[in-house]
Amino acid sequence: MAHAIEFQNVTKTFRGASHNAVDHVSFTIEEGEFITILGSSGCGKTTLMKMVNRLYEPDSGTITLFGKDSSTLDAVPLRRSIGYVVQQIGLFPHLTVGGNIAMVPSLLKWEKSKTEARVDELLAMVGLSPDEFKHRYPAQLSGGQQQRVGLARALAVDPKIMLLDEPFGAIDSITRTRLQDELLALHKGMGKTFLFVTHDIEEAFKMGTRVMIMNEGKLLQFGAPKDIILRPAEGFVKSLVESARAKEAFWEKFK
């Protein structure tokens, strides 16, 4: 069976940058995996993700999605078939919650009744009562509720691949923990492939079935959370794991 996502020697450079934003990266991801990409800002994790839905084009290398070279696909329909959630959520302020969620179905010219049923189903799925929230505007929602809507919007046409770019980055830590748990539960029942970018080490190891660690455009280590923690690669990954342990020790002091 074809891999869900495959990168072969992919490189991307931005003009005037001192190193490649993404530097000769290769990996394969299977359908249904939950992959987290961990790294500090500027490490290339978001660039890597944006090459999947072709918001960026690689300078060299090939990206294959379910066996098809993505550069041979038409970018606009490709993006409609991939769910995309951004950190700033990016809800359309002039549309209601229902209008936001119905956007991709309307781009795909779904029938009205089918779209409406789907909107209700999705709102319930992300824990918002359809009758209460469908007709509200984004400005009338809390940050956590907005990101639930962002998630529902990305799931609208049942995409096989979901890209999530620090989706909980701007959300308070209590709501964040709850959203993390719900997202994991959601993923479990769906069989979709999730690619989740974060700079938070705990979030990365909690969420990912496998974790990708990036620094300065390079993919340093890619494996199950336990493997990385037990056998961290020399250098950056090791210091990253050590810093997480130090943080843990800090909390132990208060016990």
């Binding site: 839905n53 918001l55 993006r79 990016g90 002039h94 991709v104 505007y137």
Partner: protein, 208 residues
Amino acid sequence: MIDYIMKHYDDLIAATLEHLLLVLLALVISLIVAAALTILCSYSKAASNVTLGLLSMVYSIPSLAMFALLIPLTGLGRTTAVTVLVVYNQYLLLRNFLAGLDNVDESIVEAAVGMGMAPMQLLFKIKLPLAKKAIIAGIRIALVATVSIATIAASINAGGLGAILFDGLRTMNYAKIVWGSVLSALLAISIDVLLRLLEKKWEPNTPP
């Protein structure tokens, strides 16, 4: 002063309507041209910079000189007046339209493109509705400017309130000078107030 209005109120009304007609005709044509230019400019940042630069150069030509320049081409009268008004309006309209479209939050645009909107869908479904306020502001500024420049258009026989004003100047008839200027000012102010109300109603990022 009051005598004049009692005797000539029909002239004043006719001139005001003529003025308004000139302004509205210029506005309709301006909007069509500006919409086309905005769509073209939305494809390329470089094209929009060049277009705005050219338009701002043209905008700096004094209106009387512009009327004079066009007379050999389009003659005296309304055609020349409307042409000049449309040309001036392009700078005012386009500058505001493009600024409004550019100011739409980056994350909203990214979400829209990332979910698979084509450029025209992005423009019509997202950017235009969110730039409504800037667009109305551009139309307001252009309208107010048009009311005043249209007064000068009387000097090339385009009629309107300017005709009354220039008549008054020629014959030293103060009543005509005063009524001509008061009415054109009133026209400009009421258009301004009306459109400001509309702008207020369409604050971006709030529920409609």
